[in-house]
């Protein structure tokens, strides 16, 4: 079979499954009792095995098979999770990744020696007899007890405090609260459909306040033969029972009084009476609700874990190039529309103008959609970090807890592709330099386990990504001393810097404060690389720190690289775009306002001396108009704290522009960061303000 055409699909899907495996194992490591995740990752492993076998990659399939055996034992709870197992599994996944990438690049399968893993895995798998004899993990009896309990009687569901309140109140107001256990026929194929019909029927007569398992799981058929529902209704139990039994494939319906169960949880769950309990004469329980029965506790765990899983919508994979083409076509469409509008206006064609207005709405919507299509959640980048952080922490002998927030925050695809490395650098830095060793932390009276956070969120028109730690912070004096030692600044300069600015020195090229050079960070490349990368993305990075409390590295990025707000200015006959992000204000001055200080032209703005830049001279704009007007337009721009005034001939206006690269031939031009196509179809250069200053 020619499998080449499936190669790409195989690679993409394998990567995805490997990522899920990584995530799953991390979850398992954090909570070894949570055996349910093994079920999920077992499926991932199984799929990889199947795919690679189909593709003819027997080695990958073999290794996955061995790993699967271990998962199987874990999920059957015949083996208990321990560090050794986890490490072996993680390493196996790494090897799988290498093998898959290798075949992806057209190389051989066996880039790694799998025999050692294979033997280790099979040793683990065959070692089950030993662990069999050992006491079963704590979770095992609990997890097994739960379904068992569910089978014995209806009164096996756990009521939360809120549930109890609702039930007590409803019963108090004279409503019936029925606990219904519905058992479907064992021959039932479409369990979800039947459960849906049951829920629907109940919804019509009353309100479903609780179901075990939850409604989502019912929809996904994540239940055995029966499920429990608590419903508040004014119908009698008998009537309900008849309604439900009328639904085909419903085998039996047991109805008990939920209010009773809540009131007297201590009482042994009596076998449910076939007939409904007399409900009408139950007095409204006023006594405080008793604690939930202990035996009923476990079942809640699995649904909770499932709910955490992100809902995966339907999606298609699209080559990013196609999206770029789509975007270009979109741009062309808009430009042509503008031309048609001009024709309509000059020839006074009202019918055309009206039609074009309609079209305008459509194109605007279309443009938004095309833009949105390019946006991807940062989670795509973030999801590879937990594993990296885990490995690194082990290597460094540090203990920490990584919190990730805002994975759903969206960024333009082009930014996403570039942002991974800088974030990784910052995380490594936090782990290596920020966090102290557990003993040192304890000595300082901090918890042994450090906190590292990776947080993304929207802030206005930007996305902010923060890497936080509660480590030792950055000592401004140490930075000052190092900077002077390295001859980067003079002693006086160092002393004149305030602490915040001194700490920012770490972003300068060639700065490294690591006492010893480690494999992790501290090679003297790092922070300056991070900064330059972020700045090429049009963002910027800053740091806030407090000694012994920790540091926060904050990356601020534009929402999208493809479209920005810009101010269009004119110099002679040429049009330029200045990104709005770096503009402070625009002012109108006269020739007299320009002073000369140390051979540089400056203006004084609100007491601040600002150097001015004559754009026409810098860019060698050919002079068409010799006549110099007395009115001078100045665009005041800033990069960080530094300001400058750019002198232009005319301000055209603020506009959203689509950024286009100038391509290889014109790469690396100073002062010009890109180009854009204007509404009239002409091209305007976009200025790189930081290069101007």
């Amino acid at each position: 079979m020619d499998t080449n055409q499936y190669m790409e699909m195989f690679l993409e899907e394998s990567r995805e499954h490997l990522q899920s495996l990584n995530d799953g194992l991390l979850a398992l490591e954090n909570d070894p009792e949570e055996v349910s995740v093994v079920n999920d990752i077992f499926r991932n492993a199984h799929t990889i095995k199947g795919m690679s076998a189909t593709m003819g990659f027997t080695k990958i399939a073999e290794l996955t098979h061995d790993m699967e055996n271990v998962f199987d034992l874990l999920r059957k709870e015949q083996m208990k999770v321990n560090e050794d197992i986890m490490d072996t599994l993680f390493k196996t996944i790494d090897s799988l990744e290498q093998m898959i990438e290798s075949v992806g690049a057209g190389g051989p399968e066996d880039v790694v020696d799998i025999t050692s893993f294979a033997s280790k895995l099979s040793a683990l798998a065959s070692g089950k007899s030993i662990s069999d004899a050992a006491p079963a993990p704590a979770a095992a009896p609990a997890a097994e007890a739960a379904p068992a309990a569910a089978k014995t009687g209806a009164a096996s569901i756990e009521y939360s405090d809120t549930d109890k309140d609702v039930i007590t109140q409803a019963a108090g107001s004279g409503m019936h609260v029925h606990h219904i256990k519905v058992t479907l026929a064992s021959s039932c194929v479409l369990k979800s459909a039947r459960s849906y019909m049951v829920m629907n029927a109940l919804d019509q007569v009353g309100e479903v306040v609780k179901s075990v398992p939850p409604a989502e799981d019912l929809e996904q058929e994540k239940f055995e033969q029966s499920f429990d529902v608590v419903v508040v209704t004014d119908s009698e139990a008998k009537a309900l029972e008849e309604t439900l039994l009328a639904i085909s494939e419903v085998d039996s319906v047991e109805i008990t009084d939920a209010a009773e169960e809540v009131k007297a949880p201590e009482e042994a769950p009596a076998p449910a009476p076939a007939a409904a309990a007399p409900v009408a004469n139950v007095p409204a329980p006023t006594a405080p609700v008793a604690p939930a029965p202990k035996s009923a506790a476990p079942p809640a765990k699995k649904p909770a874990a499932d709910a955490k899983k992100l809902k995966s919508g339907q999606s298609v994979r699209v080559d990013i190039e196609k999206l770029d083409t789509l975007m270009n076509l979109m741009g062309e469409l808009v430009i042509n529309k503008v031309r048609l509008e001009q024709i309509g206006t000059t020839h006074r064609l009202t019918e055309l103008t009206e039609t074009l207005e309609q079209m305008d709405r459509v194109t605007t919507d279309l443009q938004t959609v095309v833009m949105k299509v390019r946006m991807v959640p940062v989670g795509q980048v973030f999801n590879r970090f937990p594993r990296m952080v885990r490995d690194l922490a082990k290597e460094l002998g540090k203990e920490l807890n990584l919190t990730i927030e805002g994975e759903e925050t969206e960024l333009d695809r082009t930014v996403i592709d570039e942002i991974g490395d800088p974030i990784m650098h910052l995380l490594r830095n936090s782990l290596d330099h920020g966090l102290e060793h557990p003993d040192a932390r304890e000595a300082k009276g901090k918890p042994r386990i450090g906190e590292v956070g990776l947080i993304a969120r929207h802030e206005g028109n930007n996305v902010v990504i923060m890497v936080t730690d509660d480590g030792k912070g950055i000592d401004a004096d140490v930075i000052r001393r190092k900077a002077v030692e390295k001859g980067m600044i003079s002693e006086d300069e160092a002393n004149s810097l305030d602490d915040a600015d001194a700490v920012r020195l770490i972003f300068l090229p060639g700065f490294s404060t690591a006492e010893k050079i480690t494999d992790v960070s501290g090679r003297g490349v790092g922070m300056d690389v991070v900064r330059s990368k972020i700045e090429t993305l049009g963002g910027h990075v800053d740091v806030e720190t407090k000694i012994d409390e920790g540091s926060v590295f904050k990356i601020k990025l534009p929402l999208t690289l493809a479209i920005i707000q810009a101010l269009l200015v004119k110099v002679q006959e040429e049009m330029y775009a200045i990104p709005l992000g770096s503009i402070d204000s625009t002012i109108n001055i006269t020739q007299e306002d320009i002073k000369t200080v140390r051979n540089r032209e400056v203006i004084v703005l609100r007491g601040q001396i600002i150097p001015i830049i004559r754009l026409g001279d810098i860019l060698n704009v050919p002079r068409v108009n010799e006549a110099e007007s007395d009115d001078i337009f100045v665009v005041v721009v800033h990069i960080g704290e530094r300001k400058a005034g750019i002198v232009v001939d005319n301000l055209i206006g603020q506009q959203e522009i689509v950024i286009k690269t100038l391509g290889k031939l014109l790469a690396g031009l100073k002062v010009i960061s890109g180009a854009t196509v204007l509404g009239d179809g002409r091209v305007a250069m976009i200025l790189d303000v930081s290069a101007l200053m």
């Binding site: 391509g663 290889k664 010009i672 179809g681």
Partner: protein
Amino acid sequence: MAKGELMNIAEGETQVQVVAFKLRREEYGFNILNVKEIKGLTDITRVPFASDFIKGVINLRGSVLPVIDLKKRLGLQDMEYTDDTRIVVVREDDLEVGMIVDAVTGVITLNGDQIDAAKAVDNENSRFITGVGKVAEERLIILLNLEAIIGLQDEIK
């Protein structure tokens, strides 16, 4: 003559089709496989700090396309643009560039024996030229080396 040419095409092993165009009074050609399209002159935006032979950029259906002033690149004397002036959009690897030419004269099929590599003019421009095609007694087409003209390698030093 025409018949003879057709026969050659039938046997043809090393024939090549070129897009021929004029620069001042001479005729030049690019391999047709490199030519993407030919378009009329549009607004060209000057790019500050770019090499002097780069005339600027144009908007080609929403993308920004650099345009080379081919006469300047080959060291020929400048000439006013006319109604015949065209931009030939060429492609080399993944790089697309527009070339300003004085007029496009047509597509010409040349056979291997019509191309004389040795005839390559020996001057400072020889690196831009791959050979000379002889169409008729009085009609010579100078075949250009696109890679050298785009000149990524030697311009970035």
